[in-house]
Amino acid sequence: MKNLKYVSLLLMVLLLNISCKDETSIQQFYVDSENNDDYLMIDIPTSIVSLPDSATPEAKQAYNSIDKVNLLAFKINETNKANFQTEKTKVLNILKNPSYIELMRVNSNGRKVIAKYVGSEDHMEEALIFVSDNNQGFALARVLGDDMKPENMIKLLNSIQNIDKDSEVFSKVERFFK
């Protein structure tokens, strides 16, 4: 009986270890790739777009619920073509984390789109969209916020008026994708 107890304890420890696999988190990935010039890593604040005072309360709720949009992009050029697949696989592996709940995924002709979220359907903390094209590169956009409601997001999109094209963030993104 003592043997049994010992073995079951050992098994439990083993199980715990296996389920808490050490998967690279996004934060870790960002830290590791900070100096990699192939990547654009940028936080886009909500202030880059403006909302008129006449916007609906739902649109305002959505606007306020978003902290920022974090963008990670890898653009393929002559020199980094070989790294594309490796880097893409790294990011895809991060997205496999079970805390990212899948919404949909599409694969076609070397192009891929994956949409996931963190939190619950009524209170989203993070919405992620990954897009990839075998010829152009890939990008991961993460909308980070608190209590984001999808139905309000649509209303927000309809209300957005100006994008601040003078902002530094906008020019950075523009330059990278040119």
Binding site: L4, E102, M104, R105, V106, N107, S108, P150
Partner: protein, 189 residues
């Protein structure tokens, strides 16, 4: 001496059983026989999950139709569409479909052969005559169905959930699924 030996034997048996019990949940049962097609370049894949259906419902407008749609999609689980324009992959798909139908014991609901190809629709029994747990469609030898400009040779569509046969035609109609019109045909009452 004998009693001690007996105790040891029992322990080993229990250990093996415990091990089996512990390992079983870790073995990821191959979700779907068809998921492997996702990684192939020759295959186009679309997967929409239960979460997405529920969200789509929330975003809908306030029309009566939208409210009905919201209701309908609550009971859907996953939708998966796999299509290929490659003849060899299409042949593999056909063989896998045969395997799948056999192992999952799906029964044929509808079959039609039109100028576009052979369409076969199968279902997995649900809680009653009006409901099915899975709606499975296989289309082959298609000439006119084009996805992304390429002519498809085989298309697999699988929809799981607590599907109301009376309503599924309307739901599918809203999604742009190849052969979707046949599902409406097959289930139209």
């Amino acid at each position: 001496m004998k009693t001690i030996n007996n105790k040891y034997k029992m322990n080993t048996k229990s250990i093996i059983m415990l091990l089996l019990m512990a390992i079983t949940p870790l073995i990821s049962f191959s979700q779907s026989l068809f998921e492997k097609y996702e990684d192939l370049d020759e295959v186009s894949t679309v997967v929409v999950t239960k979460s997405a259906f529920r969200l789509m419902g929330k975003i809908g407008s306030d029309s009566e139709e939208a409210k009905q749609y919201i209701n309908d999609v609550q009971s859907l689980d996953n939708l998966a569409v796999y299509s290929t324009s490659d003849a060899r992959v299409a042949a593999n798909m056909k063989a896998d479909v045969k395997k799948y139908l056999k192992s999952e014991k799906l029964s044929e609901l509808f079959r039609v052969k039109d100028k576009n190809g052979n369409v076969k629709i199968y279902v997995r029994e649900g809680k009653d005559d009006e409901h099915v747990k899975e709606l499975f469609m296989f289309i082959e030898n298609i000439d006119k169905v084009k996805i992304d400009g390429e002519t498809m040779k085989a298309v697999i569509v699988t929809l799981t959930g607590d599907i109301d046969l009376n309503r599924v035609g309307k739901i599918i109609d809203k999604m742009n699924i190849p052969g979707g019109n046949h599902i409406k045909e097959a289930t139209h009452k």
